[in-house]
């Protein structure tokens, strides 16, 4: 084959090949570059700069970064803010997402299926600031009037908004997982007299469980990493929504998340200051969480492929 090519073609091919290679390598370089940059800005703290205490950083609820006399950098409240909004969001979106995926793959006709898939894609295309806006106005009003609370920017508000944002990922990946279940399993179960529900919970859900788990994990990853919408919908108050008085978890409290803190404060800090470095450390912390979640999801998906 090669022999029949002219010199010009060979040169052109060489250039194109290397150009593509460069693009591929640069993607990797960018990822490492970003990681390196974030790590460089935050890491000095990990090596004890300015008497920084990692344990205190993670376990103290006191976040007073701009106090003149005694700045304190405890992110426990922020961690719990992120955790509470994300967990509640996942609790809301998983049943709806799975239900929608089951409906799309097992119950509806081809036309409705196409329509629903388009709607889901539209949902995925809404920018996060628009979601935040919906939280700030519409959802705030709804929560205030339904629950009779004075201030509707709460854990619940953020969680509902986040749940809607996670929904497209959860639905589309779950639907893929259900569709990947061989039709012969459906025929086998129905041939033995299984009803649709028996088919779903005895055969389809177990057979698709890895894919469904991956869908949930990617939804969690999305929830943890989301910034703009939660910044606008949760009230941005440093507060732990969990305490010893019933109902122990206060979904109608305002909170603040890790991501929102970085977004709101990074612009006001002096480069290289302790506050600046702490925000980068939060970034590293978030990176580790989402990286772990995505890695696990990826391994789970890979597990499916092997089967």
């Amino acid at each position: 084959m090669r022999k029949s090519l002219t010199t010009r073609q060979i040169v052109a091919e060489w250039i194109i090949e290397n150009l593509i290679r460069l693009c591929g390598i640069s993607a990797i370089l960018f990822v490492f570059g970003i990681f390196f940059f974030v790590f460089r800005e935050g890491a000095p703290l990990l090596f004890g700069e300015g008497g920084f205490d990692l344990i205190k950083f993670l376990t103290s609820p006191e976040w007073y970064p701009s106090s003149n006399s005694n700045p304190r950098y405890g992110i426990l409240a922020l961690i719990l803010g992120t955790a509470s909004v994300s967990c509640l969001a996942v609790l809301i979106s998983v049943p709806f997402g799975l239900g929608a995926a089951i409906f799309i793959s097992e119950f509806c006709g081809p036309k409705l299926k196409e329509g629903l898939k388009i709607v889901i894609e539209l949902l995925a295309a809404i920018p996060s600031v628009v979601w935040g806006f919906i939280g700030l106005t519409l959802m705030k009003g709804i929560i205030e009037s339904v629950f009779g609370v004075p201030f509707g920017l709460t854990v619940l508000n953020g969680a509902i908004i986040l749940a809607l944002m996670c929904l497209p990922i959860i639905v589309s990946i779950s639907e893929d997982a259900l569709r990947a279940v061989p039709d012969s399993y459906r025929e086998a179960a129905q041939g033995l007299g299984a009803t649709r529900w028996q088919l779903i919970y005895r055969v389809l859900l177990p057979a698709a469980k890895n894919g469904l788990l991956a869908a949930v994990l990617l939804g969690v990853g999305r929830a943890v990493g989301e910034t703009m919408a939660v910044l606008m919908a949760t009230g941005h108050a440093v507060n732990i929504p969990i305490d010893g008085t019933p109902p122990y978890f206060h979904a109608l409290d305002s909170v603040r998340t890790l991501t929102a803190t970085i977004a709101a404060e990074l612009g006001e800090t002096a480069q290289g200051s302790p506050h600046y470095r702490v925000l980068f450390l939060i970034g590293i912390f978030l990176f580790c969480i989402t990286f772990t979640i995505n890695l696990v999801a990826d391994l789970v998906v890979r597990g499916i492929r092997k089967e």
Binding site: S184, L192, A207
Partner: protein, 259 residues
């Protein structure tokens, strides 16, 4: 309850079936004799699978199916709207062209039918163990598999998988077993083993088997139905069909003039 004619377990009257606009079965009428193996032969695309899949109404999965006529099984027209499909499929079991064990253990495959047809609290462990052993003995897999009941059924050899697919019907005590080219995925030894198994089951069950292997139809079935283009051309004792068919088209098919 008294059956109209105890000799037949399936009566089909003027049954037609359409996939959308395409008529796949045309005014089919036939009786399947109780307690024997009947084979269904004919060129590919003539509607054998469609007819077979009408008897447990699993065709309806496709959504674009309409039917007319009557199919009476166990004194009931199974095409009636009030027929319970789970109950129908409990008494009319089906074996598919490709072995399709569920992706669970051998044990769970066999008791799957019991689980979906009984309340959880009525199922006792000893009962299930017994059902598994009986079913596996009936299909002659017990000695090979008795120590591997927890293994995944999908990891078995194809021949064992297909036998398992037969075995999992038995705990439900079906009256009729439908088989759609059950040996087409198997090698010569597997085919022989499954054929022997069918013959041994024929005492207790009415079996209808689709095959396009005429030698197989001759080996296992007492009666034989020849179909062409959605119609039944001839239905008779198997020797009769193969030795002196009445219809010219049957002769041509048996002599290998259609694909």
């Amino acid at each position: 309850m008294s059956e109209p004619d105890p000799n037949y377990s399936v009566n089909v009257r003027d049954f037609s079936l359409w996939y959308g606009d395409f008529q796949a079965l045309k005014n089919v009428s036939l009786n399947l004799r109780d307690g024997i193996i009947t084979s269904l032969i004919g060129p590919s695309g003539c509607g054998k699978t469609t007819l077979l899949r009408s008897f447990n109404r699993i065709n309806e999965r496709y959504g674009n199916v309409t039917t007319s006529g009557e199919i009476t099984i166990l004194e009931k027209n199974i095409l009636d709207a009030d027929v319970s499909l789970p109950e129908l499929r409990k008494s009319v079991g089906m074996v598919f062209q490709r072995p399709n064990p569920l992706p669970v253990s051998i044990y769970e495959n066999i008791i799957f039918g019991l689980r979906i047809h009984s309340d959880r609290k009525d199922l006792r462990r000893s009962e299930m163990d017994e059902a598994v052993e009986t079913a596996l003995r009936q299909v002659r897999l017990w000695d090979d598999l008795k120590d591997k009941l927890k293994n995944r059924a999908t990891s078995l050899q194809l021949e064992q998988q297909q036998k398992l697919c037969i075995a999992r019907l038995l705990p439900l005590k079906p009256r009729i077993i439908l088989m759609d080219e059950p040996c087409s995925a198997l090698d010569v030894d597997g085919t022989r083993a499954v054929e022997e198994l069918m013959v041994s089951l024929a005492d207790d069950y009415t079996i209808l088997i689709v095959t396009h292997n005429m030698a197989q139809a001759r080996r296992v079935s007492q009666e034989c139905i020849f179909m062409l283009l959605g119609e039944i051309i001839e239905h008779d004792r198997t020797e009769q069909i193969f030795l002196s068919p009445r219809n010219q088209k049957t002769t041509e098919y048996i002599e290998g003039r259609y694909g």
